[in-house]
Every structure is written in C-alpha cells, then in structure tokens.
C-alpha cells in the first residue's frame, strides 16, 4: 500500500498513521566518569558536575524540555551527609535554576560510610512570565524560536563531605554521571499547557 493522505492524517506504506503534528524535536545527552569534589560551601552553593548540554535552536517558542540526570555520590564517612541535584538553564545570557532538589533531599544523620545514586526528573515548562510560575513551581525562561538553550547539572550538599560522579565503585562500568534533555513539540499538549498564550 502506498502512502495516502486521509482526512485525519497520513497513512504510511507500513500501515502506521500520523494523526497529530506533535513530535520530539531534539535529544541531547552527556555523561562523565570524573570525580567531582565539592567546591561549594555547605548548603550555600551548588557544585558543577561538569555536564552541559547545548540544545539546538528551538524549533518554536512552544517547545517544552524534559530533563533527566543521575550521579553517583560518596561521602567521607562522616556523622551526617546529604545531597540533591540541581538543573540550571541559560538562554541569551540569562540564567536561572530550573529546579533544585535541595541539599538534604537524600540525607542521613547517622555515622558511617554512605554511597547514593541520585536521580532527578523535571519538565522544564514553568516560565517565569506565566501564571503557573508562582508558588515555588520554578522560575525557568520561556523558549524563543531559533534560540539555543544551555542546560547544566549541579549538586547541593548538606555538609562539606560529598564527591559527585564518583567512579571508584566496585564492579562499576560506564558513566558515573548522566544528563539528558528531550525537546518536545508544544503541540503534544493542549492549548495553554506550557504553551504561550
């Protein structure tokens, strides 16, 4: 069967149909296996995990971005430790935190040796100029068509005793830190669902 144009969309030769215009627009990811000693003070600043993604120019200003990252952490066997991942964005020279889990998102107050594998999912669509930006729901920057967006992953720590992306775990293989971003077409969502209004 040849490709056919129908009233509801396109039917491909293999029988599958396209009935909506929404598509993933781009995907970028990065990974590393370095050890990132804490550079920021306890609870007061974020340590960069050496993972940065530059997304291609946004297809349109209705794009939304699905972010995911994980990293291995090791403490120095102190009395207490805590950690959380943070996502940062820069667009046209302006930068903000898309979200931060906080410095004791994963935390224990008992002495001993600890390792954590910390994960973070986030949909970047909470534009600071939109009604949903209030109430501590994030403060990101609305995409602009044909403008690139740069994302980074950081971590916050409760005490000065964490190592991120730690690569010395028994039987470990592959990266010890991973960060990805999937640009999605705003047409996958209803009107006003992250789209400009």
């Amino acid at each position: 069967m040849a490709l056919t144009l129908g009233p509801n969309g396109i039917t491909m030769a293999n029988g599958s149909e396209i009935t909506t215009g929404g598509q993933p627009r781009s995907l970028r990811w990065t990974s590393t296996s370095d050890n990132v000693a804490q550079t920021a003070g306890n609870q007061s600043g974020d340590t960069y995990l050496n993972m940065e993604i530059t997304m291609p120019a946004a297809v349109d200003n209705d794009s939304v971005y699905l972010l995911y990252g994980h990293s291995n952490f090791d403490d120095n066997s102190g009395n207490t430790r805590g950690v959380g991942l943070s996502f940062w964005i820069e667009q046209q020279g302006q930068s903000v935190w898309v979200g931060r889990q906080g410095y004791h998102a994963h935390y224990e107050s008992k002495p001993g040796d600890r390792y954590y594998n910390q994960h973070y999912w986030l949909m970047d669509n909470k534009w600071a100029d939109g009604s949903e930006a209030g109430g501590n729901y994030g403060n990101s920057i609305r995409p602009i068509a044909n403008v690139t967006r740069k994302y980074r992953m950081y971590y916050l720590a409760n005490n000065g005793n964490m190592v991120g992306n730690c690569n010395y775990i028994t039987a470990q293989a592959g990266p010890s830190g991973f960060f990805m971003c999937l640009e999605l077409d705003g047409n996958l969502m209803p009107t006003d669902y992250g789209k400009p209004t």
């Binding site: 396109i10 491909m12 030769a13 939304v64 959380g84 935190w97 931060r100 004791h104």
Partner: protein, 177 residues
C-alpha cells in the same frame, strides 16, 4: 522541498519518514504541598493526576515517570515508595500500573533520613485492563509507607521548583510492534 513517496515522505536533508514512530501526546502535573504518612496500601498524592487524550490505538503504550521526596520522623525504622495508578474509561475500572511496595526503599536504624523516590514504568495494558482506541486513561501518583512515620513532598533546605511530579507520554504502537 519535501516529497511524497510511495513509502513515506522524504525531506531535503535526505531523511525520510516511513512510519508513524512518534510520541502521540504528553501530559504532566505537579504537587508541592506536604502530606502526612500514606500507609501501606497507598494514598493519592494531592490531586496529582493527568488525563490523557483519547487513546490513538489499541497498540498505544504509555511511558510514565513519577517522583517525590520524603522525610521520616527519626524513628528506628522507615520505608516508602511512590506508585502509579490508572483508570480506564473503557471498563470504568482502576488498576495499579506499579506498586513497588511499602518498604521497597527501607532503613531499620534510628536516625534522621530523607530520600527521593521514583517510579518509571511502561503501561502496556497487560495488568491494567487492556488499552483500547478512543478510551480515556487517567494516571495518578500514589505514595506508600512502612511504619507510619513518613512525610511526602517534604520541605528540604535549598529546594526550588516542583516536588512531586507525574509525566506521561503516549507512544505510538508502531514503536514497539
């Protein structure tokens, strides 16, 4: 200029679209208020629910991401999980897509603990009443706990942005079949 071919659509950059292998829809929701202990069986996290548009095909599959953070009250033991639930308009029934279990993440020593919980699943209909073209499927995120001492969507120092979140993507069945 893009060209219609017998097998699909070809584009000026040389790429071609020969199937409908795409994301059909996406919905997501957030909830930021703290909630007390949910118990073993599971408690709905706030109003954290997404209603997907009418299912494209019986072959559609749903990719689900759920996440929330917790704090215990420093007792000698604690456990918790986040779970995914679905309701189908086809048979007006609800199902657990996945319940990791009340102590899937667990400690049995006394100290203060915080942790972030995740549930990532693909709903293929096998244990959720099947997937039927044209139906409406609602997804929710629930929490479970082990010892009656957990607070979900807990306040954390340095925290910014959303806490509990549920993200659902409907994937075209041709991605799998």
């Amino acid at each position: 200029m893009a060209t219609l071919q017998s097998t699909g659509i070809s584009f000026p950059d040389g790429s071609a679209l020969t199937g409908a292998e795409h994301v059909v829809s996406c919905r997501y929701a957030y909830y930021n208020s703290t909630q007390g202990d949910p118990g073993n069986s599971g408690t709905w996290i706030g109003n954290l629910e997404v209603t997907m548009p009418a299912t494209k095909s019986n072959n559609s599959r749903y990719l689900i991401f759920g996440e929330s953070n917790t704090d215990d009250n420093n007792q000698s033991t604690c456990g918790a999980a986040v779970c995914t639930w679905v309701w189908s308009s086809q048979n007006n029934n609800s199902y657990w897509v996945h319940r990791p279990g009340a102590h899937s993440h667990y400690y049995n020593d006394g100290n203060d603990k915080y942790f972030v919980l995740h549930d990532m699943m693909i709903d293929d209909g096998n244990i959720t009443g099947g997937i039927t073209a044209g139906e409406t499927r609602k997804y929710r995120l629930y929490s479970q706990s082990h010892n009656g001492n957990m607070t979900f969507q807990a306040n954390v120092g340095g925290q910014e942005g959303v806490r509990a979140k549920l993200i659902v993507l409907e994937l075209d069945g041709s991605l799998i079949t």
